[in-house]
């Protein structure tokens, strides 16, 4: 492959004092990729991003942009822009001047500047009030100004730090769609930081899942969801049944109280190893009579969510969550009271065997899809 990646991190690490915030990590982000960094608050997402922009100096490792090492290049000379969590709009400048800032600094000719500013404002659909001050805008509009300001200079990479965090639910949905549209239109690599798994799943080409300063998995949304590589990834993205189990042979797992359960074993686990079997609630089937390979249980609780029912079923010593789409609930099942007897089953492909302890799982190295 001759094409270089937009961003490449090699062994990048950051500690503040004795506090290791980002563990050594390698990452490659392709051109025009919508790449998300997903993880809970405090896991080091912002710090990782700030090392790419150059606001933080990595404790070790190096950053490459477009195939060139930029460790000694100051932020203002790096071909990237950041969309700040707080937007960081210049309060004394109008919308127009905020967007024009980079072009003015770079001494762009007047006509060209005007054309590009208007283009950027059109891109974020904010042509109507270029003279307003940031304080006269709503949260969503400020966000758009910040976005226009970040893309007006056509950088190779735009980094967005939880850009939708301050917006209300409806606006978030709208902006998610808009961001994705924009990214496709302008053809810029987006590195998108979020703690919202749904946001990451709907928008990204690839996702890096982070926990406590470590990148656990880098993969596309469907792979992250269907084939999580660790306990953390399985439970952080969507909901997941994590059933404690033991390897009874090289390719079978056994759960205390249930016996052998259907599962696909991928990693090489030694017999006798403690593992967890991860099964998505919607991959489980609930019936009112025993079926092939099903486990008997008792409904401890059921919750109606409109489009689906969530059942909590006690089987053996384990509490399982099962989701049943409203339309698929059989009459017999629907009339069962809490405490009623049911049977739970799932296909072998739906059960994934993962290490019981995340610290032993390998930190994966990402490369462009």
């Amino acid at each position: 492959m001759t094409q270089t990646s937009a961003v490449r991190l090699r062994g990048i690490t950051k500690s503040f004092g004795s506090n290791l915030v980002v563990e050594p990590l390698d990452l490659e982000i392709g051109r025009n990729e919508f790449f998300s960094i997903l993880g809970p608050s405090g896991c080091g997402k912002t710090t990782l991003m700030r090392m790419i922009t150059g606001f933080e100096t990595p404790t070790a490792g190096s950053v490459e942009l477009d195939g060139k090492t930029v460790d000694r290049v100051p932020t203002r000379q790096r071909d990237l822009n950041m969309l700040f969590q707080s937007y960081a709009l210049f309060p004394h400048l109008s919308v127009y001047e905020n967007v024009a800032f980079e072009l003015r600094v770079r001494k762009t000719a007047k006509a060209e500047l005007d054309r590009r500013v208007r283009e950027a404002l059109a891109l974020v659909r904010l042509e109507d009030f270029p003279q307003r001050k940031p304080s006269e805008l709503s949260g969503g509009q400020r966000q758009r100004v910040a976005l226009a300001r970040a893309v007006v200079g056509r950088p190779a990479v735009v980094l967005l730090d939880e850009p939708l965090g301050a917006l209300d639910q409806k606006l978030r949905k709208e902006m998610q769609f808009e961001l994705k549209r924009m990214q496709r239109e302008v053809g810029i690599t987006f590195i998108y930081v979020t703690h919202d798994q749904e946001e990451a799943l709907t928008m990204s080409d690839r996702i890096a899942v982070m926990s406590k300063g470590r990148v656990l998995q880098v993969a596309g949304p469907t792979e992250i969801y269907d084939a999580p590589n660790s306990r953390f990834v399985a439970s952080f993205i969507g909901s997941c049944n994590l059933i404690d189990a033991v390897m009874s042979s090289a390719d079978t797992v056994e759960v205390a109280g249930l016996g052998p359960v259907p599962a696909t074993v991928t990693g090489g686990f030694a017999t006798g190893t403690q593992v967890v079997v991860a099964v998505r609630p919607e991959r489980m089937t609930l019936t009112d009579r025993p079926t092939e390979g099903s486990f008997a249980g008792v409904i401890s609780e059921r919750v109606f969510l409109g489009d689906e029912w969530t059942y909590h079923v006690k089987t053996g010593g384990t509490e399982l969550t099962v989701r049943v789409p409203s339309g698929e609930t059989s009459a017999a099942l629907a009339t069962l009271p809490e405490g009623g007897q049911v049977w739970v089953s799932w296909p072998t492909a739906a059960g994934r065997v993962l290490p019981a302890d995340d610290t032993t799982s390998p930190s994966l190295i990402g490369s462009p899809a």
Binding site: F55, Q77, A100, Q131, R149
Partner: protein
């Protein structure tokens, strides 16, 4: 429990309505101080500036004349006035540059270290003005550290007192804290991420200051200029002690007119002129600031 906390604000709101008279009574000491110590003396000086002087005994003889003001146009006085304005402007400029840089430096330090740095700026201010001025004589004068260090390094140095340089240094030292504080106050209110945003968008040091920090701390800068320019016009100790007294300032002139020439009406007239100059400079600076903020509002075409 919660009921009592809920009624507390209501009681607080009622209080001013009941105690308007009390409110005025509480204002009285402040009003009295201003009237007795500011307005009355100023009225006395204003009156004296139009009075005839008593050539034999000093003091005033009453009457009304414009002569005291007319005589100020004498080249000797005009020159002093010009020199004072120039020195005040120079001092304001030096204080502004140093104060701005210092304020920016302090405001960008970690929050827990800022108070310490501010204390260091204030400490000299806690000593007496005269003591501070004499300290400069010792530092820059013959046999002082400046001369000794320079000689040790092989330079042919001699005492810097009296000199314009010593005057400027001493003025800077005297006025730096009042230059730093207003700017620091403005800077602290600026979102620190703006600095990163500016550098992210390609702005270097100068562009970041010119386009972001200077406009955003303009009020502080205006106050800083006023607080250094205006009082410098009234300074009279520093030029005598460090400048050799060859170039008197308006302040010196007023002192001389009152004490040596015993020409109180002329001293009063000079004081009034300085007062008017001060008010005018305050008006000009405020006006400029307003103009600036209006212009930056209308910048985009």
């Amino acid at each position: 429990m919660s009921a009592s906390t809920a009624t507390a604000p209501a009681r607080g709101l009622r209080a001013p309505a009941r105690g308007t008279l009390l409110g005025y009574l509480l204002l009285l000491p402040a009003v009295a101080v201003i009237v007795l110590l500011v307005i009355v003396p100023m009225a006395v000086i204003a009156r004296q500036s139009f009075a005839l002087s008593d050539p034999l005994l000093g003091g005033t003889m009453g009457g009304f004349t414009w002569d005291n003001y007319a005589k100020l146009f004498d080249p000797v006085y005009a020159k002093t006035m010009g020199y004072s304005l120039g020195l005040a402007a120079l001092n304001a400029a030096v204080c502004l540059v140093v104060g701005y840089l210092l304020a920016f430096y302090i405001s960008t330090r970690p929050a827990n270290r800022q108070p310490v740095l501010l204390m260091l700026v204030i400490i000299p201010f806690l000593t007496d003005f005269l003591v501070r001025t004499f300290a400069w004589i010792t530092l820059l004068g013959s046999g002082g550290p400046y001369v000794r260090i320079a000689r040790a390094l092989g330079f042919d140095a001699s005492s810097l007192v009296p000199s314009q340089f010593a005057v400027i240094m001493s003025l800077l030292y005297a006025f730096l804290p009042v230059a730093v504080f207003p700017i620091y106050a403005s800077m602290r209110a600026i979102d620190p991420s703006l600095r990163e945003a500016a550098s992210d968008l390609g702005a270097g040091w100068w562009q970041t200051h010119r386009r972001i920090f200077i406009p955003l701390s303009a009020t502080g800068i205006g106050s800083s200029i006023m607080l250094t320019f205006v009082p410098t016009l009234g300074v009279f100790v520093i030029p005598v002690l460090l400048g050799g007294g060859k170039d008197p300032l308006v302040g010196n002139l007023i002192v001389t007119l009152f004490t040596e020439f015993r020409n109180e009406p002329m001293g009063a007239a000079m004081s009034m002129v300085v007062l008017v100059l001060m008010l005018a400079s305050v008006a000009v600076i405020t006006g400029l600031l307003r103009l600036l903020s209006i212009r930056s509002n209308r910048r985009a075409a």
